[in-house]
Each structure stands twice: as structure tokens, then as C-alpha cells.
């Protein structure tokens, strides 16, 4: 079962609540066909029309429906950004946005299907919850909770996963404790396994979360010493402002790792792009070592 499979299965379950409506723009429409047959009128496929998809979600929410809006990440978040800003936020209504594709799940499809900036773009808005699960088993609980709420949630699904699930880690969860004062590495979503492998023999505490927004700043303050390392599976630096604000009253150093800004114009698979962006275990280890041993980086 992929994250997308568990999403479709769970969405069909939550459709039992008559206030729920799924809004699609052709992506995953076939997977939702059984749900559409079971709940006519509450699985809405508008065709390849992303502006309408989000506008419809806003209108549904205005009547009291709880929309679940789903497409490929760049089409859901980037193409219809003004609809997210105005048809949801400005109207004072919420929706649950669920994307697939992540930063480079379909690397061979090229730039049009890559969305490393999606979380940063959502982060320009106010009061959104962002979940980046690391395992398919984490998806059902996150979706159910989001649909039960009234605010806006972005649920970012990926084909990249950790070997095991760590449910209910919205607040930072310490996966590896290197003791008081040790450098703190915060891994988000499916990058936990690579991060653990990268610092396996280094004195680094590793904490994990599937919820970069709202970021667990209290947990960060409790765990952080002088050195903080962020490892995020989307645009590098996306959470740097949050960490900087949370630790503004303390001298600290921050290394923010993630997907780079430059367009590589290379295909291959997600594991290749992990390597090229320095997000595989070896790349992360190099960056962490350089950060923790400044003399080495300068040499």
C-alpha cells in the first residue's frame, strides 16, 4: 500500500460523514470511482481545471461542507495558489488539501511534475497545518484528524518513505538521544531513515516530526543546544525562519538542508535526486560533518 492508496481508502471511510466532499481534477479519479459510485454528488471531479477545483472547495466550505481537495502537488498548490489564498483563506473557510508527487517522486517526468516549493508556498499563508508523513500507515490518522477539524491542512504524500511508521509525532519525537547539549538534527517526513544513517556514529540527537506547521517550537527549545540541523524533504530553508524565531534569544547555529533551488534538468529516480541534492545518507553526513567541524569545511 502506498500513501496514495491509504489516502484513497481513508477518504472513502470519511465520506460516510455527509459533510465530507472530495474534489478532484482528474488525478486519482479512477481510484476514487468506487467512492464516487457510493457517494454520488460528494466525489466531484471537475476535470483538468485546478482553479475551479479549489474555487469549488471554497464554495462547498461556505455551505458547511468539509472539502478534501486532491491533485499532483504542483497543480494543487502552485497552479491555483490565488484560489487557495482567496477562495479559502480570504473567505474565512478551510479545506484539506492532499497532494501526491512531492519534490521529485516522478523525477523522470521533469520540472513540470516537481514541487519542492509547495510547503514554502503554503507557508506564506496564515494558520495552516502541514503534515509530511514518512510512512503510509501514518496517513489514515492524519487525514481523519484533518477532516474532523475546521481549519486548513496540507497533507503532502510521497512515494518516498521510512522503513517504519512513527504515528502521532506532530510534536518533535526524539528517535535517537545523544545526551544533553548534543547537536540536534530535526528530520521531517520520509527523510528520517537517511538522517539516522547519516549520523549513526556521530554524537547527534535526532528528532522527527510529520508536522512542520505549526512547528513544535516548545519541543525545539527543550531539545536544542547550540547546533541545530534541519533536514527537510522540500525546499532547503523552508523552516529556517521558524527555528530562527524560536531560538532568537539564544546563541545558536543552524544548518538547513533540503532540496536546492536550481533546476537540475536531470531525470532518473527520486533516489538520484536525493543524491544530487545531498539528501541521501552520504550527502547528509558530509554536510553535518562540515557543519560540526568548521575547520574541516574551511580546509
Amino acid at each position: 500500500m502506498t500513501m496514495r492508496d491509504t489516502f484513497v481508502t481513508t477518504a472513502e471511510e470519511v465520506l460516510a460523514d455527509p459533510r465530507t466532499t472530495v474534489v478532484l481534477a482528474d488525478i486519482s479519479a479512477a481510484a476514487f470511482a468506487p467512492a464516487a459510485a457510493r457517494y454520488p454528488g460528494r466525489v466531484v471531479n471537475v476535470g483538468i481545471r485546478e482553479q475551479l477545483m479549489v474555487g469549488v472547495a471554497g464554495g462547498l466550505a461556505l455551505t458547511g461542507q468539509r472539502p478534501i481537495v486532491h491533485s499532483y502537488a504542483p497543480f494543487l498548490v502552485e497552479r491555483a495558489y490565488e484560489q487557495i489564498k482567496l477562495d479559502l483563506d480570504h473567505q474565512g473557510v478551510g479545506a484539506v488539501l492532499v497532494s501526491v508527487g512531492a519534490s521529485y517522486d516522478r523525477a523522470a517526468a521533469g520540472r513540470t511534475h516537481l514541487a519542492p516549493a509547495d510547503v514554502a508556498l503554503i507557508d506564506t499563508l496564515n494558520d495552516w497545518t502541514v503534515h509530511v508523513p514518512g510512512h503510509p500507515d501514518e496517513v489514515p490518522g492524519l487525514l481523519r484528524d484533518a477532516v474532523c477539524g475546521r481549519g486548513s491542512t496540507y497533507l503532502r504524500l510521497s512515494t518516498q518513505t521510512n522503513a517504519r511508521a512513527y504515528p502521532e509525532a506532530g510534536d518533535l519525537r526524539v528517535v535517537r538521544d545523544a545526551g544533553p547539549g548534543a547537536p540536534l538534527l530535526v528530520a521531517v517526513g520520509p527523510l528520517l531513515d537517511a538522517a539516522l544513517a547519516a549520523v549513526a556514529d556521530r554524537p547527534v540527537t535526532v528528532a522527527w516530526t510529520h508536522r512542520p506547521r505549526p512547528f513544535d517550537t516548545a519541543g525545539l527549545r527543550a531539545l536544542a543546544g547550540t547546533e541545530v540541523i534541519l533536514v527537510e524533504p522540500y525546499l532547503a530553508g523552508t523552516s529556517a525562519r521558524v527555528v530562527a524565531a524560536a531560538l532568537a534569544d539564544r546563541p545558536h547555529r543552524l544548518l538547513a538542508l533540503g532540496v536546492g533551488r536550481s533546476e537540475l534538468r536531470r531525470y532518473g529516480g527520486p533516489e538520484d535526486h536525493d543524491r544530487w541534492h545531498g539528501l541521501d545518507a552520504a550527502g547528509l553526513r558530509r554536510s553535518v560533518d562540515d557543519f560540526l567541524t568548521p575547520a574541516r569545511a574551511a580546509a
Binding site: T21, L52, V54, V56, G58, L60, Q65, L86
Partner: protein, 232 residues
């Protein structure tokens, strides 16, 4: 309940003058007044007491810049205090140059950026239908220049293809689209399965007939043509 009391044009004119406060209004303000009057006086089943009633009709002003007449009419019908009109756009005013639904009672959507109302209207119509509310109707007022925005055409095609029978679009056609709509705006809707009526946007009887001319099986569009910018 359909309201049948007409808004006194002299009262409306006086309220509009309070909003205007000596400023010059463009044709977009005056060309919209007649259709707003007919809607609020004779078509929409909304009163200040029912602004939160889930079974109310919805009126979505998509061309949010046509706001002066909208505010004047909302004041005339008792949705907002008349005193609010005097400081429109001021630092403490709830009435911006575009309406905000969180600030103004009776306003269904915040608008301003063109091309958002019809998508929101389609979603509202779908939501009402999912809830089994077959009585309320959704009306969305657009401009002919606003139709330039491609998002409208996403909504027009989808609403027509799915027979969204509880939706009415009103296109206030004051011939302001830079490249025009050869053959008329209505054709952009009818080719997608909408019913349509094109009428004189100053003729209240014709507007009323057109605005109540839907068949409940297909979405309906009323093109209200206003070619002079004065308001009698």
C-alpha cells in the same frame, strides 16, 4: 419568501451619494444598479434576518469593484447601518473598495480579484445539492471584462456539462472587455449547455423575467446589456 417591496430610487440615490462623498464613479457602478435593485427587490430570498439561514438564496458579487451600489442597496435593505456608508474606505470602515464577507453582513464572498466568484458559486451550488437543499438558488454577478479570466471558463464548462440547475450567472455587459465577445457573451455559456437570456440591463421587467427564467435542470445565464453609463 420573495420580497416585492421596491427600493425607492430616490432613497437609493441618496445612499449612493453618501458612499460617493463627492468622488466620481465610473460606469461600472451605475451600470450595475438596476440589476442589483431587481435582484434584491424581486428575486433574492434574503433578508437581514436570514443572512445565516442555510436555505437562503446566495448572491455572490464577483465583480467586487462594483461595490458602491452594492453597499447602498445593502443599506437600503437594512443589511448594514446607513451610517457605515459615510466613511467608506476609511481606516475604521468595514466597507472597502472591494467587499469582505467577514466584515459586511449580507455579503456572501469577499471579491476584488476577478474570476473567483463563479468557481465559488459552483462550489456553493454543489454544497447545497449535497445537503439536499433544492430550494435555494445561487446567483453570481460578473462583468463582461471579467469573463476574460480563464477561471470563468473552467466553471462555465463544468456547470454546463453537469447540469448544475441551481446556478444563475449574471453578466453585466457594459462592453468593457478589451477584445469584446463577438456574437455576445451568452454564446460562451449556451455552447456549454446553459440556458440564456440577453436583455436590456436597464429594463426592470425584462430583467425580472430573465432572472426568473431558469428551468431547474440547467445552469442559467442572464446577460444584462448596459451601453450607457448613466443611471436614471
Amino acid at each position: 419568501m420573495t420580497t416585492t417591496t421596491a427600493t425607492d430610487p430616490a432613497v437609493l440615490r441618496a445612499l449612493l451619494d453618501r458612499v460617493r462623498a463627492g468622488r466620481e464613479f465610473g460606469p461600472n457602478v451605475y451600470s450595475t444598479l438596476d440589476v442589483l435593485q431587481v435582484l434584491y427587490d424581486r428575486v433574492l430570498r434574503i433578508t437581514p434576518a436570514t443572512v445565516d439561514d442555510p436555505d437562503r438564496d446566495r448572491f455572490l458579487l464577483s465583480k467586487g469593484h462594483a461595490v458602491a451600489g452594492y453597499y447602498a442597496l445593502l443599506a437600503a435593505r437594512g443589511f448594514v447601518p446607513v451610517a457605515w456608508l459615510d466613511d467608506q474606505g476609511g481606516p475604521d470602515s468595514r466597507l472597502g473598495d472591494h467587499p469582505d464577507r467577514l466584515l459586511v453582513p449580507g455579503v456572501e464572498i469577499g471579491s476584488g480579484s476577478l474570476g473567483h466568484g463563479l468557481g465559488l458559486g459552483v462550489g456553493t451550488a454543489l454544497g447545497l445539492r449535497a445537503q439536499g437543499r433544492t430550494d435555494p438558488r445561487v446567483y453570481v454577478l460578473l462583468g463582461d471584462a471579467e469573463l476574460d479570466e480563464g477561471s470563468n471558463h473552467e466553471a462555465i464548462a463544468y456547470a454546463g456539462a453537469t447540469g448544475l440547475g441551481n446556478l444563475t450567472a449574471i453578466v453585466l455587459d457594459n462592453r468593457s472587455a478589451s477584445h469584446g465577445w463577438p456574437g455576445g457573451a451568452a454564446g460562451r455559456f449556451t455552447v456549454n449547455g446553459w440556458t440564456a437570456a440577453t436583455v436590456d440591463g436597464r429594463d426592470h421587467a425584462a430583467l425580472h423575467t430573465a432572472l426568473t427564467g431558469h428551468d431547474h435542470h440547467r445552469p442559467h445565464v442572464v446577460v444584462a446589456v448596459v451601453t450607457d453609463g448613466e443611471w436614471a
